[in-house]
Symmetry: C2
């Protein structure tokens, strides 16, 4: 039997109209699928609805999130092995980038299932583009350690990579800890190191600014509870 | 005077219909601009035409590529300082990612010009999504060294980062050297290391496969002159 296709379907980062953040084609793919894997059922249904999905109650949404057990991931592929295509969705942004979806994709490859990523918004990618940092050499580091000492050490390590390897460094934080992270950045890193703060991407309040630490120190923004991507690079 | 906005405008990677690879909104932005910065005038004009740009001969396209001198970049911002928005375009994919656009963006930040990245295709991002490798920690390394010895050393260094730091590693090669790079990868790295080969992205011949080196050795594909992104990660 011909296997289904695993579509990787980006989700919106904000309430901006879908026409602004994803190709029309994505709606066609989404509305043609019955099986979905998502982090959160409510968020997934809301997105399907925005795509014009006709029979929401018939959409088969299986959850994959921090509560999923490693052994359960295999079962998520069953529809694919039975010939049905599946849409893998993140809560926000691109599946497989800073979300739990990569494990499903990895398993799909071992089963010879075709993987087709669709195009859409990713806060990390928009931040890399918008930072003006090195687009030929960059790393995304996910979340930094929560412990203050370990975090300061990690920040210095990333600054060293930026300086010595010419590699721009990007990372994120849980939104209610953004201000603490920014305070640490301003305290720990060199005054000439450039910091990019990319906030509320694709939203009407979107802002992307890259400045040296010495400039940011003149007036640190309040980032509390905002979605932010941070970047650092040599000055 | 209010400054213009620097729009970062992704370009198609293939001849796939625009509706498949970018939001409708991008066309609105593109057709509303007069000033553009592009790597190649012919490619830029072809894209503007596909977007439905009305008066192609009135589009003011300034080139930024490997022939541009560092001092010339400043002049590219003049329309912005005079209140006109500018579209920065890559030959293919997202400006600021693996292209020369980052320098313009960096300069725009120093002049307080608003930078607005649009959403669209990036072969690097689609490869990261489609690889099934670590989406919480990854690096893009651009081109590897051409010298065989230096390249083998770099490949081993990247494998070590993948193994020890859990960081997925992505890189590219000039298309006519792809087969040589793949031969080196298969020769130099451990049999259990996973390699992702993402070919012809967004094209009808698109293929994304992740397999251990030991599997790839059973039949290496012919990648000559195809656009390819390579990834490596621990097995």
């Amino acid at each position: 039997m011909q296997k289904g296709i695993l579509y990787l379907i980006p989700s919106p980062l904000s309430d901006a109209p879908l026409e602004q953040v994803m190709p029309e084609y994505n709606k066609q793919i989404v509305t043609g699928l019955k099986h979905f894997i998502a982090e959160d059922a409510k968020t997934a249904r809301r997105f399907l609805k925005r795509c014009g999905y006709a029979n929401l109650q018939e959409a088969d949404i299986t959850l994959l999130n921090e509560h999923s057990k490693s052994g359960e991931v295999g079962a998520l592929l069953n529809p694919l092995l039975n010939g049905h295509s599946v849409g893998l969705m993140s809560d926000a942004g691109c599946p497989g980038i800073a979300d739990p979806g990569a494990e499903v994709v990895a398993l799909a490859h071992t089963k010879g299932i075709m993987v087709t990523p669709l195009i859409g918004p990713s806060s990390i990618v928009l931040s890399i583009m918008g930072s003006g940092f090195n687009g030929q050499n960059f790393a995304f580091n996910g979340y930094l350690p929560i412990d203050k000492m370990a975090r300061s050490r990690k920040l210095r390590d990333l600054e060293t990579l930026a300086l010595k390897q010419n590699q721009a460094q990007f990372f994120i934080e849980t939104p209610y800890r953004n201000n603490q992270l920014l305070a640490d950045i301003l305290q720990v890193l060199r005054p000439e190191t450039r910091v990019c703060i990319a906030r509320n991407l694709t939203d009407s309040k979107q802002s992307i600014k890259s400045k040296p630490i010495s400039e940011w120190k003149k007036g640190a923004p309040d980032l509390h509870k905002e979605p932010v991507v941070f970047g650092i690079y040599k000055g």
